[in-house]
Symmetry: C3
Subunit: 320 residues, 3 copies
Amino acid sequence: MANNPQLDANGNLKHLLSIEGLPSDMITAILDTAEPFTEVAEREVKKLPLLRGKSVFNLFFENSTRTRTTFEIAAKRLSADVINLNVSTSSTNKGETLLDTVDNLVAMHADMFVVRHASSGAPHLIAQHLEATRRPNVHVVNAGDGRHAHPTQGLLDMYTIRHYKRDFTRLTVAVVGDILHSRVARSQIHALTTLGVPEVRAIAPKTLLPSDVERLGVRVFHDMREGLKDVDVVMMLRLQNERMTGSLLPSPQEYFKFFGLTEAKLALAKPDAIVLHPGPMNRGVEIDSAVADGVQAVILPQVTFGIAVRMAVMSMLARG
Amino acid sequence: MANNPQLDANGNLKHLLSIEGLPSDMITAILDTAEPFTEVAEREVKKLPLLRGKSVFNLFFENSTRTRTTFEIAAKRLSADVINLNVSTSSTNKGETLLDTVDNLVAMHADMFVVRHASSGAPHLIAQHLEATRRPNVHVVNAGDGRHAHPTQGLLDMYTIRHYKRDFTRLTVAVVGDILHSRVARSQIHALTTLGVPEVRAIAPKTLLPSDVERLGVRVFHDMREGLKDVDVVMMLRLQNERMTGSLLPSPQEYFKFFGLTEAKLALAKPDAIVLHPGPMNRGVEIDSAVADGVQAVILPQVTFGIAVRMAVMSMLARG
Amino acid sequence: MANNPQLDANGNLKHLLSIEGLPSDMITAILDTAEPFTEVAEREVKKLPLLRGKSVFNLFFENSTRTRTTFEIAAKRLSADVINLNVSTSSTNKGETLLDTVDNLVAMHADMFVVRHASSGAPHLIAQHLEATRRPNVHVVNAGDGRHAHPTQGLLDMYTIRHYKRDFTRLTVAVVGDILHSRVARSQIHALTTLGVPEVRAIAPKTLLPSDVERLGVRVFHDMREGLKDVDVVMMLRLQNERMTGSLLPSPQEYFKFFGLTEAKLALAKPDAIVLHPGPMNRGVEIDSAVADGVQAVILPQVTFGIAVRMAVMSMLARG
């Protein structure tokens, strides 16, 4: 595989594995491509023929109806044939390896794999294998791998920020919550710094921060009131249920008290600050309903833009 | 929401939540719209473009492959993009509320929700929420909610009765079985009385009748032989497995003896009486195989008409 | 039902239930029909309108994502509407019989059933029922029934052998492994003898051979080195996990030692011998990775040809 496994020799998008390693102009190209797709969704007939006759496999080794649905809609609106494979209960149970499964689906003339896996690096491993077996026309989209990355989430967040704030180079952005366990946070921070956001803040309790977080180019805050001061964008993270009962945190109530986003805390940000959340929300844990349903929240537009961004990525890969 | 949440300001169908509240002429309009769809099913190419480019979500909070399949076929024959969501094992597990799930799918530009839920009123709640959030182009079809309603079942039963008996105003119709726990029975009784059936009978043991059953406009019988006398239509209900082992009933054998439909009991009805059953049947419990497979049974035509009725409802909603 | 339930009065394919009973010229016709479909898979738009507007039901009473996927892709590339029914968790739980389920789906105007069932004979039973209820336009494809048959697997194996070896009448073919429990083996042996392969060998430990195996027209070997001598084709069988822990076999390691295909054992076959495996493979149990990934293996081409063969069968049934 070449230096950058995500780009082909001509610099076109070949796989989407992580935002880390995507050049700034490629991120911008994806966001630009997504723009017209937001209009398709408003049409009477939400359908384009760009992936007609292509076979897209949703290869989910970890269950996520929500994410699978967004990719399924995006692919169907591009007229692809979509096949959902919940692999946790299938071939791998029969002792087949991940790469044997992939080889089989490639032999069925798969055009694209949307891969979700509990292990970091699984989509990268698949892309590497496709390279090694000389399958330049088969593409991989990472739909979330372990703690590593969730690049379409990061891209739709950038689309949302650009939509509301236009210029990345004048923004202060805070990422708040369980950064340690979040693949979303990693993708977001990489995207923000790549696009030239001058100040990215990480707000979290010490137990929920990776030890090397400052190397990502962020300013660390443990006090939410300090961290939110004068920011333009607040990116909340989901607190996963399995953490809440763990030993890293005292209790959901305690967490909410210190790191839950309330109207009072949000008032410390700029008056026109926007609030993002990747969903599904834990209301009353990381975010108060008054904020989630308030005028500064752009959480549902994120979902809308997410379909357009996924359509953009898929059509760029198929075209590539 | 206006007085009638199911109709828009022009009297067009906006949601299908229950037969209760549907005016007689709307029920008739649905049955009339369904007629030509029965012919589509006989064609070489069973496909119409009426929902092309629309996104229909089968939102099943309660598993029912059978009902989901009927809606999936109906939507696909109308060329919709269909996405199946079995929500019991998904987002709601992650603590997301029902309405957050709906908001998310609306943000993905859903056009229609087919909703199955164990709680009575869930589809109505979703419709109300769509109203409150001003989403006039998103429609809800109730595919069965708790003990409340199963309106497409009621409508297909009416289609079937009209097909074989033409004039509702001369009929005596018996509904037989577990009326207490049946959402189907409620939908049927409302439809029959609305369409002008002069005599609707409820035949059931005392323990399987709601206390207010007579307020629905039915004549109550506890003896099946009396109740079936001279009826034109026998509508059998399914005895749900969980009831059979409960304390409300002595045993399936005992139930069959008193309330199972046998050829001997059916002989008390009019000679040309027809027998309906919503399926799946418990042969030898509520219905004898000789009747289920006999010439008076119209149980399989019900299924056929059910697809046409669902296509009619979906196309009317999409057009509305 | 006529003498041969798989052919109609004009000798056209009506159902595909087993290779046993398929005349040699019908097998050849299926392989010939599959040829152009392999080219469709290479196109930009992998789509033909042959099953447009047809409803294909994947009726899986036994879970098999892999097999279901191959039929789903084949049907979608022929433009059919595909509905997946995992019936193990559905209607049959509610006490409905297999044939009631079928009757219901026929009433929904199903055109084709792809049936997987743990019981031998289930697809045959369904075909018989369709005959008895006079449904000449509804077709059944057996996707694996108990220990009985898996005819599309047998056909794709024949396609593969013909592709690489051209003339069946000059070949020596070995089938190796758990022949006793394998529906694949039965289908393969029938196909090979029908197509005129002069020597078919069965290589297996005594405990994994049916007592009447010689009546199938095979030569039996218990020593793999003897059995592989000078063969043109090696057809490996999968050792099912549930066997490995059973009392019929000492251990996977022991099995590999005697019946696993290694490069050393394969060297006893003809130099240009090809190796087939139905997948998923147990590497290091019935086959060594060096062989599975080696130049003589045609295991992935089998998968590719399998899609074309399933498209051929479906289009012949729909045309019939």
